[in-house]
């Protein structure tokens, strides 16, 4: 396995390390804002989650919910999946095959901007959901009905496991950029998802589908949301985030997102390459251990901080009650880490999709696209955006943890109780800046 693939699923180029001054500035900013929030922010919870937001015109809600819109999106999802499946099954296993770029860049990274802009969109285009729906229609079954009831305590745990399985494929699996490997993963995922949906009904997707889970979580940082009555509203992202249900497994899912991105940074460093090359483990074993260890550290540190907060406040709270506040940090990391990859490789993948079978075709005229390398030539801008994303994510995390703490905990102890979480979040942020600086 090539080291470039130990470092990344795709892409032969990485961003330059950020300047040291910028890393220090970011860390200082994060610290100062943290304590400002603690000292100056509101003392009573202000966020009202799904009750909040300015209603958008009713026509917009009607249009979004119309059968026509829903089926257009489903058909789009199916058609896109069909093109990628064609490339994965019948395309040549060469660098010109768009499968890896489509899955690792357009889908996995693309979920983030799409969901930030429009909310939890993947459930609307999810091709596996559509296949299940169509099968149920043909067999005259109710797609919502399963053979068994899914206990609600299952929460997001299956999604966390699938998220781990996907990040393992993307960051660790041997030959992970080759089509046979991706094809095998996707086929397994597709089959097991359908089995889950048949067993528990279509709500299985909301509990288990990693791409839906990712989109639903990131969509909670969107400006666009839904009120309890279903009306589309414009709302502040932190209000939106506050409405994220504290389901079991939420922290596990968030920890996979943050931990895997951290691991991707670590594994791109020469330090890690030397460690793996000098070890008795092979790269797959070392990578698996590294990925699991990073995710476990993220989960354990935050769980410990919430436990401590509960002890200080005299009122225990489960880690999932605060997990939403780690989400902005994870998304900040993802933006910092994958921004240029998405822009550069995303364009490149679109061009490759013009010819998924490698027969010289130019489907949809995609082959005529001119790839812009402009962003690759703006290292100062990129470094600033990276640090900006990390710091903004940190601030959003601190503020949402603060609001949740003053809601859950007795007023006199709410501030002190936040300190452990604040410490852990500063840790994540400083670690993120260090990785951008050193790796």
């Amino acid at each position: 396995v090539s080291p470039a693939l130990i470092a990344h699923g795709v892409g032969g180029r990485q961003d330059l390390p950020i300047p040291f001054e910028l890393a220090v500035l970011g860390a200082a900013l994060a610290l100062v804002v943290s304590f400002l929030v603690l000292g100056l922010a509101w003392k009573e919870s202000r966020y009202r989650g799904d009750d909040s937001g300015r209603p958008l015109p009713e026509a917009l809600t009607r249009a979004a919910d119309s059968l026509w819109t829903r089926w257009t999106l489903r058909v789009l999802g199916l058609a896109s999946a069909a093109v990628v499946a064609l490339a994965a099954i019948a395309g040549p296993d060469l660098a010109t095959n768009p499968t890896a770029g489509a899955v690792y860049v357009l889908l996995w990274v693309g979920i983030v901007p799409a969901s930030l802009l429009f909310g939890p969109v993947w459930r609307l285009v999810n091709p596996v959901r559509t296949v299940h729906l169509l099968l149920c229609r043909v067999l005259r079954l109710d797609p919502a009905a399963g053979i068994r009831r899914l206990p609600s305590r299952v929460g997001l745990w299956p999604a966390a496991v699938w998220l781990l399985a996907f990040t393992w494929l993307e960051l660790v699996a041997p030959d992970r950029a080759t089509t046979p490997v991706i094809r095998a993963w996707l086929a397994t995922f597709f089959g097991l998802s359908l089995v889950g949906a048949v067993a528990f009904g279509s709500r299985w997707f909301g509990h288990a589908d990693p791409f839906e889970a990712y989109s639903t979580l990131v969509g909670r940082l969107s400006w666009l949301g839904r009120r309890r009555d279903g009306r589309l509203v414009a709302r502040r992202p932190l209000e939106n985030l506050d409405g994220l249900p504290a389901r079991p497994g939420l922290m596990a899912a968030v920890a996979v997102l943050l931990g895997s991105t951290m691991y991707d940074s670590v594994s791109a460093s020469p330090w890690w390459a030397r460690l793996v090359q000098g070890s008795a483990f092979g790269p797959t074993a070392a990578g698996t251990v590294g990925l699991l260890a990073t995710i476990t550290v993220v989960y354990a540190t935050f769980a410990l901080a919430v436990r401590l907060a509960g002890v200080v406040a005299g009122l225990p709270a489960g880690v999932d009650r605060f997990a939403h506040s780690v989400l902005p940090i994870a998304v900040g990391y993802v933006i910092a880490h994958y921004l240029t990859l998405f822009v550069l490789e995303g364009q490149h993948t679109l061009v490759l999709l013009a010819d998924p079978l490698g027969i010289g075709a130019n489907w949809f005229g995609l082959g005529n696209l001119t790839e812009s390398r402009w962003l690759a030539n703006q290292p100062t801008l990129v470094a600033s955006l990276q640090v900006g994303a990390i710091v903004v994510g940190h601030v959003l995390g601190i503020v949402s943890a603060h609001d949740r703490a003053v809601r859950l905990f007795p007023p006199r102890r709410a501030l002190v109780a936040q300190l452990p979480m604040l410490g852990v979040m500063v840790g994540y942020t400083v670690a993120g800046l260090l990785l951008l600086f050193a790796a």
Partner: protein, 154 residues
Amino acid sequence: MSTPPSSRSLPSRAMVLLVLAAGLAGCGDAAGGSAESAPGSITAGPSVTPSSPPTPSTTEARTPLAPEIRVVEVTIADGEVQTDSDQVEVASGETVRVVVTSDVDDELHVHGVDQTAELVGGEPTTIEFTVDEPGVFEVETHDDGRLLFQLLVR
């Protein structure tokens, strides 16, 4: 354009390596028609291994030696990589000359410029190129997948 072979008759491992060599998306020319957008340009092809120059066609593309050439020497012995630094910093457009001596046969690959050269066991191999785009590019061996160093282009 150094296209990977289109034949499926190659052993699968070689196929995989070639795919990696082409550096799925982003590694330049191999990715069909994106030569203009590739981040680097090769001013001198994989040049003369002392024994037998395998790629005579590229030598004519060689430019006269620029006054500033960054020379990086790498030794690979018993699976251990020895370099002066894990990260080599160069300016965008600066010529880089990498001299690799490996105790086993292997293939050298520079990401970003998608430059490869045969490594013959025990003999130094020289590869020369420039990268015109900022970023971090990995220089590695293929057969045993070892990172030799990272090239930091500023």
